[in-house]
């Protein structure tokens, strides 16, 4: 036998002893024994074997002993349902006891005994207790209905307890009202569609009266219940708000938060221009700030809720500063300091100055947070990015070590978020290279040097200096350094061969770190097998980063506002995410939700607006500055027309043709010479130009003017990927340096074999021009007719067949007014618009025309000419819808 027998015997012995004591005649001994039983129960020992003996002690007038026995019963009745019946009689008897405390105790305990057989016996006593003369018994009975409902909902309905409970809302005693409200709210939650809590102005009035009189807990029940009510009109809404507002001064923060919830919800109903609305908004702020000086646990709850509230309403306005200080002072010292304090857009903009001030504080940790916050601000709110960057530069000028390091880490992210916008600051950053001693800052700086190696003259020297202590660096820095040097090599292969070999051997041969070794080998192989592929991999376009938004999606926010103060508001999740079963699954909405408040709308809109950044400039930049490296594009075989057509088609299929409307509208404008790049934006270089198709060659005709004080040289041009794959067919022919105030006309032949990416509008072209000063970017739009190819004449039969195949909904018709059409087929043909057929029906001239785009897409058109009212219909063979406007026709005809 093992030791276990000792355990059983001792246990048996203990139970046996207790049994004897329980059956003792002496009251004191009995009580002691029950206490021992309860103690064992607490620590988790199974004392259910003593059930009959304990129940025997129930018949006593000693209230303390009775309470202990009841406690035992509540725990074990479920496991011994048959025995539990024994207790029923006592309960029924106790419910008649002259002492209200005993009556209440009985009814309270009864509800906790979850045995079906017993519940039936409890209905009568409960009914009596609900109508008891003593409020203490009534308030206990009210909760008991909720208990019974949890065990057997049908029974409660059948017995009509719900109606009795509803009557209790009108009870004279505020505490009875509060408990009845609590019980009804809970029952109503499991019957989402029932009209249990039939809240009408009369009951609301009763609740509001009870609100002033009941305990703090009762006030919470009532306020939470009020929050579910939907007022009939704004007047009722206002009057409820007026009566709830005093609760904001309650010492109990739960009362305050629940009052805030009611106010936030009912405010939706109020007209925003009402004076009262403003007053109310002002009243909300101070209590919220006060909540932050509560105990740490409540601070936590308060912070989570304030975060929600400020996203919905700009409550805190002037108190912002103080709030911020609170965060630093209060949280700085409490154990909750790591809470990520979250701010909304509006805050960021207002706090920028404040953040800068804080960034020069002495508390290192706090300063770091402030600098990070500035960075987050820049990434989140585009409008503020510029100010943020200049703030960060100011901070770097302070030369305070940790500020500079943190600022560099942050700037790296800003570069990634807004490529080609703020790179002018690189110079400043490089000045601070030596002071960086933290891995994160070093890694960030190395990334910047590698990424913008072409702009930093001494990039190789800088990186070489890092390489000296390669093995002492942290992995983060090593990895970054490896990548940066490879990038540098790909950009400036001639000067940096030695450096790249050095770093590759350091990474692959002298390092124990498998990550580093692997990365080193991959680069090595890439570089040795296919440098072009290596370039594509290493210098690939990076996705834009976006700050993981702390803003809550508006519908969720609305729901959470309805749950202020509750767990949902702490987790920032809807109740259904963490509550099982039917409870709380119903979604609450704000009353005025259909009318989105302007402030919330704009906040959400700003966060969702797509970043207005030219998508692939990073990539473009790489290409542009490596003109000397890559062979001219003509070297590659042009893709077969069919594939070109496929690509184009795919791109266009994405709803792209709709946007042709826009582009066709604009074509007239584009034909004339336009200023594409004003001198203001390009350090003195002005570019104006137009597009043309001459002898089957698309040309970009540009005039470059030097309006700066110094000579410009080294011109180069590159296009971003565009809808039709336009690309320069040769280098930009600016051979002589451009002196100040001199202009030069350049014609750049284009081909359509470049990479394809759908643009918006479709004919948008993003161009980068480089000279000895800098790289400049502009975008322009080319006339679509430029892309009509010479072999766009379709066979009549084919035309007829295709025309028939195009579904009607892919056709669109336009009326062209005030247009004197003197178009002859030959003139149209000059623009590669071919007239296939012509017929006259009822005095109308019908012209059937075909065009083919460079990417192989066919456009078919029918031009119906009435006097002064030509009607032009366009269709495409691919069945794509294309809209045509009268402007286009004019263009087509005139050009």
């Amino acid at each position: 036998m093992t030791d276990s027998k000792y355990f059983t015997t001792t246990k048996k012995g203990e139970i046996f002893e207790l049994k004897a004591e329980l059956n003792s005649d002496k009251k004191e001994k009995k009580k002691e024994a029950v206490k021992k039983v309860i103690a064992s129960m607490t620590v988790g020992k199974d004392v259910s074997a003593l059930f009959p003996d304990v129940v025997n002690c129930m018949q006593t007038d000693n209230l303390e002993l009775k309470k202990l026995v009841y406690l035992y019963l509540m725990n074990y009745a479920k496991s011994q349902p048959d025995m539990a019946i024994m207790a029923v009689n006592t309960f029924v008897k106790d419910c008649e006891d002259p002492n209200p405390l005993i009556r209440a105790l009985a009814v309270r305990t009864m509800g906790c005994i979850r045995v079906d057989k017993i519940t039936e016996y409890l209905c009568e006593p409960l009914r009596k207790c609900l109508k008891d003369e003593d409020p203490y018994v009534r308030k206990t009975a009210a909760v008991c209905v909720a208990k019974l409902h949890d065990i057997n909902a049908q029974l409660v309905e059948d017995q009509g307890f719900l109606d009795t409970l509803k009557d209790l809302i009108s009870d004279s005693n505020p505490m009875v009202v509060a408990n009845a409200v609590a019980a009804l709210s809970e029952i109503a939650e499991s019957h989402p569609n029932s009209n249990l809590l039939d809240l009408n102005p009369q009951t609301i009035n009763k609740l509001l009266t009870a609100l002033n009189e009941c305990t703090e807990w009762g006030q919470i029940f009532i306020l939470d219940c009020l929050a579910n009510y939907t007022p009939r009109d704004d007047r009722e809404s206002q009057s409820i708000c007026e009566r709830v507002t005093p609760r904001l001064s309650h010492a109990n923060s739960a009362v305050v938060l629940s009052a805030v919830k009611v106010l936030m919800k009912f405010m939706e109903m109020l007209p925003k221009d009402l004076d009262y609305y403003g007053t109310l908004l002002k009243k909300l702020a101070p209590p919220l700030v006060t909540l932050l000086s509560a105990e740490p646990e409540l601070q936590y709850v308060a912070l989570r809720n304030i975060n929600l509230i400020v996203q919905r309403r700009y409550v805190l306005g002037d108190d912002l500063r103080r709030m911020f200080l609170y965060y630093s002072l209060v949280l700085g010292n409490s154990r909750l300091s790591p809470i990520k304090v979250m701010f909304t857009i509006a805050w960021y903009i207002t706090v920028l100055a404040e953040l800068k001030e804080y960034a020069t504080e002495v508390d290192v940790d706090f300063v770091r947070k402030a600098v990070r916050a500035i960075g987050r601000c820049a990434i989140k709110v585009e409008q503020s990015a510029e100010r943020c960057v200049s703030t960060l530069l100011d901070l770097i000028q302070t030369k305070v070590n940790y500020v500079v390091q943190e600022a560099i880490v942050v700037i790296k992210d800003i570069f990634r978020k807004y490529p080609n916008k703020y790179e002018s600051v690189i110079g400043t950053l490089c000045e601070n290279l030596d002071s960086l001693d933290e891995p994160e800052a070093r890694a960030a700086m190395i990334w910047i040097v590698g990424e913008y190696a072409e702009r930093i003259d001494n990039a190789d020297e800088l990186l070489e200096s890092f390489l000296e202590g390669f093995h002492d660096e942290s992995t983060q820095v090593q990895l970054q350094l490896l990548t940066a040097i490879v990038k540098l090599f790909l950009k400036k292969p001639t000067e940096t061969q030695e450096l790249v070999q050095q770093v590759l051997s350091l990474a692959t041969q002298d390092s124990d770190n498998p990550d580093l070794r692997d990365r080193g080998y991959i680069y090595w192989r890439l570089l040795s097998t296919d440098p072009v592929a290596a370039k594509e991999v290493v210098l690939a376009e990076k996705p834009l980063i976006s700050e993981e938004t702390d803003l809550i999606e508006p519908t969720l926010l609305e729901e959470l506002i309805c749950h202020i103060g509750t767990l949902a508001s702490v987790y920032h999740k809807p109740p259904s995410a963490f509550v099982e079963g039917s409870r709380g699954v119903q979604h609450k909405r704000l009353a005025g939700s259909s009318v989105e408040s302007p402030d919330a709308g704009s906040a959400a809109g700003a966060s969702e607006a797509p970043p207005a950044v030219i998508p692939s400039q990073g990539d473009l930049l790489g290409d542009l500055l490596n003109l000397d490296l890559t062979p001219p594009t003509t070297a590659g075989p042009p893709p077969p027309p069919s594939s070109g057509m496929q690509m184009g088609a795919m791109d266009l299929l994405g709803g792209g043709l709709d946007s042709l409307v826009g582009l066709l509208h604009n074509t007239t404008l584009l034909v004339s010479v336009q200023v594409w790049l004003p001198a203001m934006k390009a350090k003195g270089l002005e570019i104006s130009g137009t597009f043309a198709r001459r002898a089957g060659v698309i040309q970009m005709e540009m005039t470059l003017t030097n309006k700066a004080m110094s000579v410009m040289t080294d011109f180069a041009i590159q296009f971003n990927r565009n809808s039709f794959g336009l690309a320069p067919a040769g280098p930009l022919q600016v051979l002589s340096p451009l002196s100040p105030n001199q202009s030069i006309e350049v014609t750049l032949p284009l081909n359509t074999v470049g990479p394809v990416m759908k643009m918006d509008p479709l004919n948008n072209l993003q161009v980068a021009v480089k000279n000895n000063i800098d790289v400049f970017y502009f975008s322009c739009q080319y006339p679509i007719s430029m892309l009509f190819v010479e072999d766009g004449k379709m066979e009549r039969q084919v035309f007829l067949a295709t025309w028939k195949d195009i579904p009607n909904d892919n056709e669109s018709q336009f009326q062209i007014k005030d247009c004197h059409l003197n178009a002859s087929s030959s003139k149209l043909q000059g623009s590669n618009i071919f007239t296939i057929a012509k017929r006259t029906v009822e005095g109308q001239d019908m012209l059937y025309q075909s065009m083919k785009l460079t990417n192989g897409i066919w456009l078919l058109a029918e031009l119906r000419v009435q006097t002064g009212n030509p009607n032009y219909t366009v269709s495409t063979v691919l069945g794509l819808f294309m809209s045509w406007s009268h402007n286009t026709v004019v263009v087509l005809v005139l050009c």
Partner: protein
Amino acid sequence: MIGGLFIYNHKGEVLISRVYRDDIGRNAVDAFRVNVIHARQQVRSPVTNIARTSFFHVKRSNIWLAAVTKQNVNAAMVFEFLYKMCDVMTAYFGKISEENIKNNFVLIYELLDEILDFGYPQNSETGALKTFITQQGIKGQTKEEQSQITSQVTGQIGWRREGIKYRRNELFLDVLESVNLLMSPQGQVLSAHVSGRVVMKSYLSGMPECKFGMNDKIVIDKQGKGGASDDPGKSGKQSIAIDDCTFHQCVRLSKFDSERSISFIPPDGEYELMRYRTTKDIILPFRVIPLVREVGRTKLEVKVVIKSNFKPSLLAQKIEVRIPTPLNTSGVQVICMKGKAKYKASENAIVWKIKRMAGMKESQISAEIELLPTNDKKKWARPPISMNFEVPFAPSGLKVRYLKVFESKLNYSDHDVIKWVRYIGRSGIYETRC
């Protein structure tokens, strides 16, 4: 609502476990122990979700109190309840310790049964609870007494029992403030606020109706308009603008909201009547003037002057000035005019203590700090100089104007009540940058 309530000792052994709802099983007790008390990394959030069960916890010394639920409960309410629970236990048996809890576990179960019903907090005012949860049994009660108890527990004035009698009616008001400051080296106030509490100890017979008056700007301005005899300029200066205040549940909030008068029937004994916050026109009891000079790379000269800025007849106490020193300090020589100053190497600070100091005085400390040469390039961050003190006035400028007591049923009047008012202003975070 709250599904269960557990109390653990520091080892995670359960001392009290009371389950109110069927959805909370015995395993919840262990889940909290394993995931929070014994967690490898300290759990920082006071709310923990373990397997769709939410645990709220607070800690008092080394005792853990945890409330458990599976529903979307009012989180603020749960914490308020846990605090209340601690207050009640303290009122019954003193400090919350493992020993006290074990000795009083029957009482605690009885209390838990009373103040939490099906997870709904019920009346938890000790004043009322003590009338019928006594651990003595309530056998001897007459019917009148019983109904008196129940009406009190459920009544509007749940915090006070009827029939309290004192031979001497007496009340004490303590205005306790903590003044917070952040000042620039040039003496510019960067931020300052006072958080204050009015604590009342009432020993009054019967059910007295009280009215509390202070120099609240809104009230004074209103009165200034009504009574022409008051000098508006003078009263305006003496009144203070309160940013926000909260009150004990005995205060009639609707009356405060409409008339801004603070009227209430006080609980018996000690309680916190109100809390408030002010940010305007704060009287800063001390001004710290720092002067730090770096002499070469290995020496710092520090001179700090403190000036007391209040009536000469008042005395500040427990004054402590903490001057941070760099980490590479090798030795410090201090000379101070008053009090005692010591360099505490373990705290990296010179601590200067003065027992008492009258108003409108000035004192000075100068120190020479010798530094070890380091190759650490990082500059010393110069943390601010902080101060602690206690002064016998309210830095917010709050004045108690009156506390009137009316008890119509018993034959004592407002004049018979002995009233004591005391002001204590303490330093919160009181810092001056150098």
